[in-house]
């Protein structure tokens, strides 16, 4: 109702303001008997014969003898009069009737016609992915986003000019924005990148296309500059999605140089010493360290020195790399502990930026006025795509404390305190959050607890109204109930973010279906539930941002394992493939699917934003061209009728 009111604000408020007092007036007037007793009641007798009003006195005048009978009437006259009187007894109307009728009509119109429009038409939500007409045995059909279609081409870059990574830093946009703690413009960033690149080649002695550099940096402007410099000089970089893969990577893929923070340096030196390999490492240290320049075979350089010396020397202009060149290899661990690496090309990243930009509705697209806060480290493929989206769009950007892996401190958990850690950066209040599900659930439960604490009755009423709006597909942050109840709670929990956050994208782990409605009500902003994979830059599957459908818990299906039943019954749907990914499921039960059951199988993806896994299956060359390139994500996915789970 609050949503309905805010929909057509002036009209409804006026109508409501007129009708409600009218109604109250009429009932109170009757209660207080404001009108003196000896009044004539005009009773329009709505009999069939006559419709004109007749005066019939019902209450006796004071001077009349109440017991005096009137003259008896003749029988025929009595019957017609009785029928008229009987009918008119039932249909007795008066001025109050007119008022009540007006009020009833107004309320009828209000209740039935002023229903809020859903944010996105439900017919679109029934058609979110385009499915191929044929499927191979034991596989599901190939699916793409409905917007791309089975015959459409995948968008590979945000615009024609963005061919390689450095092009994502648009040279002609001059406005300054804050990246972590540094206020910088795009031309300045490019200058720093070029200086650092020159320094790397001249001072650190790296060879383009020969050396490779391991980035053990936490997220920060140094990571970005190093990454862009290495990419533009065609020096592949290695990144690790978690510190646990450091040892295997050092053993199997020894890098020529390592860039590391000063506080992680002792641990790194210990590891190198333990692994005892004879490779001469060059270590570039960010920050202040008091260790010697040379430690045995290891050469220590300072990051700031390299940049400074590079800026003073003649700037090298490297050959522009091709979009299909690999610029980084991201190492991650599978759930069973094996090391996997995926090589990402410039094209993967530009495609990842394209699909990340498409996550939000067109009406609320990312603009330079936004501030993006990400919980995903730049060392992961998705985190990199988000960071480069921020760089491309010219927004302010920062990452959360939990994305800092390479610290001596303990790892932080993904919760509210983590979200607030972004306040330590001098960025404006965040507008877009790329968070993990645990961040979302802790934030929404904190907001709802605070709202419940402050006013219990209003909170239940507000919840009812907002949920009724969600059931109709409408949600807004400016409704009456937000103003009464939720805005205060949000302001208390999120501070200035309460007013600025306008979209939340959840990725990284499955989101529970039960957490979806509380999160929608608590935040009242477009919420995207997406599925990511370490090998894919950008989201793999992402739900529609204005999708507010609420389904009852899916019942268990026969023929699937208990674990699957549990998992799929309680998880929120993740939506169709993103705009430049096509997906299929392998290992599907054909018999069940032909009978109409939902396919369940392992997810395989293909597309311009999907990187290539380093270890290639035997016999890959035997697969025909159109079947090549499918990357196994190793995750089991269930296809519900219009969205993936």
């Amino acid at each position: 109702m609050g949503a309905a009111l805010s929909c057509n604000l002036s009209n409804q408020y006026n109508l409501y303001c007129i009708l409600l007092p009218l109604y109250i007036l009429s009932t109170s007037a009757w209660n207080k008997k404001l009108f003196p007793p000896p009044l004539l009641l005009r009773l329009p007798c709505l009999s069939n014969s006559s419709r004109h009003m007749r005066f019939v006195s019902v209450k006796p005048y004071p001077h009349q003898n109440p017991h005096k009978r009137r003259t008896p009437r003749t029988p025929s006259f009595v019957s017609s009069r009785i029928s008229c009187m009987a009918l008119s007894d039932f249909l007795v109307t008066d001025d109050l009737t007119i008022i009540l009728a007006l009020v009833a009509a107004g309320l009828f119109l209000l209740h039935n016609l002023y229903k809020p429009q859903p944010l996105v038409h439900p017919i679109l939500l029934g058609r979110q992915s385009d499915v191929a007409r044929v499927r191979n045995p034991k596989e599901s059909a190939v699916m793409r986003n409905y917007g791309t279609g089975m015959l459409g081409r995948f968008p590979v870059r945000p615009a024609k000019e963005q061919q390689v990574l450095l092009d994502l830093v648009k040279p002609d946009s001059d406005s300054s924005r804050t990246l972590w703690s540094t206020k910088i413009t795009n031309p300045q960033l490019r200058q720093r990148v070029s200086a650092f690149g020159t320094g790397l080649i001249r001072v650190a002695g790296l060879d383009p296309e020969e050396s490779n550099v391991l980035l053990l940096l936490n997220d920060g402007i140094e990571f970005l500059i190093t990454d862009l410099a290495l990419a533009s000089h065609s020096i592949p970089s290695f990144t690790l999605s978690s510190p646990s893969v450091l040892t295997p990577v050092l053993e199997e893929h020894p890098p020529s140089a390592i860039v590391v923070h000063a506080e992680f340096l002792p641990q790194l030196l210990e590891l190198i010493h333990d692994s005892n390999d004879g490779v001469h490492h060059t270590i570039i240290v960010v920050g202040n360290t008091d260790l010697d320049k040379h430690l045995g075979a290891i050469r220590l350089l300072k990051w700031e020195d390299i940049e400074r010396q590079g800026a003073q020397a003649d700037q090298l202009t490297p050959a522009t790399p091709k979009p299909q060149d690999v610029f980084t290899v991201s190492f991650f661990a599978t759930p069973d502990g094996q090391l996997r690496g995926t090589s990402l090309t410039h094209e993967n990243l530009t495609a990842g930026v394209t699909s990340t930009r498409a996550l939000l509705p067109l009406s609320g697209a990312i603009s330079p006025l936004d501030t993006i806060v990400s919980a995903h480290s730049l060392s992961t493929a998705f985190g990199r795509a988000v960071a480069y989206t921020a760089v491309f769009e010219g927004t302010n950007f920062a990452t959360l404390k939990s994305s800092q892996f390479f610290t001596a401190a303990e790892t932080t958990s993904f919760d509210l305190a983590d979200l607030k850690s972004v306040e330590s950066y001098p960025i404006p209040s965040p507008t877009l959050l790329f968070a993990k599900p645990s961040h979302l659930t802790s934030l929404s439960s904190a907001i709802l607890d605070e709202a419940r604490r402050s006013s219990f009755f209003f909170h239940t009423l507000a919840w009812r109204h907002k949920f009724a709006g969600i059931v109709d597909g409408f949600l807004t942050k400016q409704s009456l109930w937000d103003r009464l109840v939720f805005d205060d709670a949000r302001a208390k929990i999120m501070g200035k973010g309460a007013g600025t956050v306008r979209g939340v994208i959840v990725a990284g782990a499955p989101l529970e279906a039960q957490a979806l409605t509380p999160a929608r009500i608590a935040l009242s902003v477009p919420l995207v539930n997406s599925h990511i994979h370490p090998a894919v830059a950008g989201p793999v599957l992402a739900s529609h941002p204005l999708d507010l459908q609420t389904f009852p818990t899916t019942p268990a299906t026969s023929g699937s394992s208990a674990a699957d039943n549990f998992a799929f019954a309680y998880q929120a749907p993740v939506g169709p493939p993103s705009i430049n990914v096509e997906a299929k499921l392998l290992g599907v039960d054909d018999v069940a699917v032909e009978d109409g059951a939902d396919p369940i199988g392992a997810l395989f993806v293909r597309g311009p934003s999907v990187g290539k896994l380093l270890h290639v299956e035997q016999g890959e060359e035997n697969i025909p061209e159109e079947d090549r390139g499918w990357v196994e994500t190793g995750q089991v996915v269930k296809l519900t009728i219009h969205a993936n789970l």
């Binding site: 039932f90 001025d95 109050l96 009540l100 009833a104 029934g126 009423l461 109204h465 109409g596």
Partner: protein, 165 residues
Amino acid sequence: MSFDLTTPVNTALLLYILYTVQRILFPSNSVPSTVPIEFKSGYSWMPKSHPPTLLFKTYTPKTLEPFNGEEGKRILLAIKGVVYDVTAGRNFYGPNGMYANFAGRDASRGMAKQSFDVEMLTPIDQPLDKLEDLTSEEIESMKGWMDHFSSKYIVCGRLVENDAT
């Protein structure tokens, strides 16, 4: 003016007003337990079933032959080992269509020679037509037909010899 709330009409109207006010102030929060299958029936709806997909199967001339559209069955047609589902073109390939000869059969030779005669079809129990005696123009026209079929109809299987499976 005087007001009497106990008259039937007034009571009825009053009850309706109270009911509507109650529905407006305390809206219903019920989510239907059966998900509607039409978007008109509710916002949280789902289509009745998955979009229909055909399973890619391997056919032999004998298993392909029943699919000639009689009794409402699907109509399949093979060219050079690729089986197409041409049920959408029932007017042409169905039982009374112009090209009904090709339904459920290997139509490669007919497509190459642009002919719909029965002589173009090889009997079912014999090995597949090797198409060795075709000229290059005929092979080209057959390929053209294959492109036409690939874009207009669905590729749903492949055709192998009778004893291959």
